[in-house]
Chain length 301, copies 2
């Protein structure tokens, strides 16, 4: 598998597992696609599919996803804790191997056009694909949710990038965009003092003056008597794990607190771990060509 | 590709690239086998093939290798700097994914039997497959080389594990065995004083009281004005890269010398780098299931 693009669509159904299963089966049936994970949350009433393939396979899978999701999800009757504006709410495209961010931006435009013309669902491009800065952040695009969408789209600044000028009656609208792989990374501190985790989280996150691609907050792990700096690494290539780890370590030392452990939640690209090994071992000639398993993936058809 | 066994046979031909190409093509033609590398050394008059596959594929490939190599290599006329006892000199089997050392030991016995019966070449099991401690070390098995093999095999303690009691007239004998993946790993020191690299190499290598799975020597990098601790890591699971790196760093500090860089020569299993990332980042929940690319390989048929 030379080219690997990861697609992590979120659909607004998380309670009816039969329906989720039918939607996932439609994606699984597309040649060249591998579904790595399907995870549903009933209180959010939302499911996240993780699948990979090359550009063509991902295109086919996103169309199959819409074809299966639209007749099964009616947002006029949808309740759930998580904000949403569409039956297929968001379609993130992530370059993993043999594809660049630019390739995924181009793919998002192809998808946008096809979603609009085949399903009459308006499409907003977001993140790296955004047509303006005000559309980069998914939370801004989704603000007002399905219920507020008709009024929002009536304003000229919220004309969609593709498709009809108003929302689809039952499926709302969808955000499609390229983004860097996200790593959920937690660092546990040897103290029960939540204020310390909070203060460190503020010091490393972008909004507080910290690293550009870090979101962070303090969390209490009451059962372990520890606190945690809970981190979203939104671009590990530009803000790598080891740099954040060393910064947290140094900030914690200032309070006499050790790092007990760290934790990766969900999946990480291998490259994020290779970068840490390269840094600490000072490997001067590192490329993924040195890694046997990477060559195995290269050899795939 | 669920099960991945690496096989790194050495054949006694490194000058005639047409012959080497024919031998490699025979291996490449076996279904389920992927040849990752072919590297020839003319002064050694020896080539190293690196290929991977599951047990059955590797078995087929080793047979194809013998079939192609035996008519093309005549050890009675072979000259080269590297010690050798066979046309196919050594067949190491290395578990990479979904296979254990015990699986590779079992495979080495299957291969030994089949090589002996199909090609009348005597087989010595070595390393993890060795039938006695005195046969574990390849250098001991090969001592005396092709020219001394008839006399050596006449002694009862050098009866082969499989096959005829004396050498094959043109192909000698072969060593077959399971071993852990070997990583060639060099650490460059910020000094031109070779004595320091030598002293550190002695302190970390097994023979000098150092780590069990480390072989090391000092090397001069004259063009860079540096010296290098050149290391063979013979079992990175039991003696990991980061432990050796930190030990070299600490020994070098005692002389006021920094580590400038390290270098991986050839291929490394991804796991060796994951172990370094896990150590330095203190990742408490690490398994390869967290790595996206590892899941891609798991999904292969």
């Amino acid at each position: 598998m030379r080219t690997v693009i990861e697609c992590v669509p979120n659909v607004s159904e998380g309670a009816d597992s039969a329906r989720v299963g039918e939607i996932a089966a439609a994606v699984r049936g597309v040649p060249g696609v591998r579904v790595l994970n399907v995870s549903s949350d009933a209180s959010h009433n939302r499911s996240v599919l993780t699948f990979v393939g090359d550009g063509d396979a991902v295109r086919g899978a996103v169309m199959a996803l819409f074809e299966a999701a639209l007749p099964r999800i009616d947002l006029t009757r949808h309740r759930g804790e998580h904000p949403r504006m569409g039956a297929v709410d968001v379609v993130p495209l992530i370059p993993i191997r043999g594809a660049t961010a630019a390739d995924c931006v181009a793919l998002s435009r192809v998808l946008g056009e096809e979603i609009a013309s085949r399903f009459s669902v308006p499409v907003f491009l977001y993140e790296d694909s955004a047509s303006s800065e005000s559309r980069r952040n998914l939370a801004d695009v989704r603000k007002g949710e399905f219920e507020g969408l008709a009024a929002k789209m009536a304003r000229p600044e919220w004309k969609p990038d593709f498709g009809p000028a108003g929302p689809h009656p039952t499926a709302g609208a969808v955000a499609v965009g390229a983004r860097a792989p996200l790593i959920a990374y937690n660092i546990n501190l040897g103290t029960s003092d939540l204020a310390i985790a909070d203060r460190i989280a503020r010091s490393i996150r972008h909004i507080g003056g910290g690293f550009r691609y870090v979101k962070a907050m303090g969390v209490e792990l009451a059962d372990r008597g520890l606190v945690q700096v809970s981190i979203n690494m939104t671009n590990y290539r530009k803000t790598p794990l080891h740099r954040v780890f060393e910064c947290v370590k140094s900030e914690a030392e200032r309070y006499g607190v050790p790092i007990v452990a760290s934790e990766i939640v969900g999946l990480t690209p291998a490259e994020a771990l290779y970068m840490a090994a390269e840094h600490y071992l000072r490997i001067e000639n590192f490329t993924t060509d040195l890694v046997l398993e990477s060559k195995l993936l290269d050899e795939e058809g």
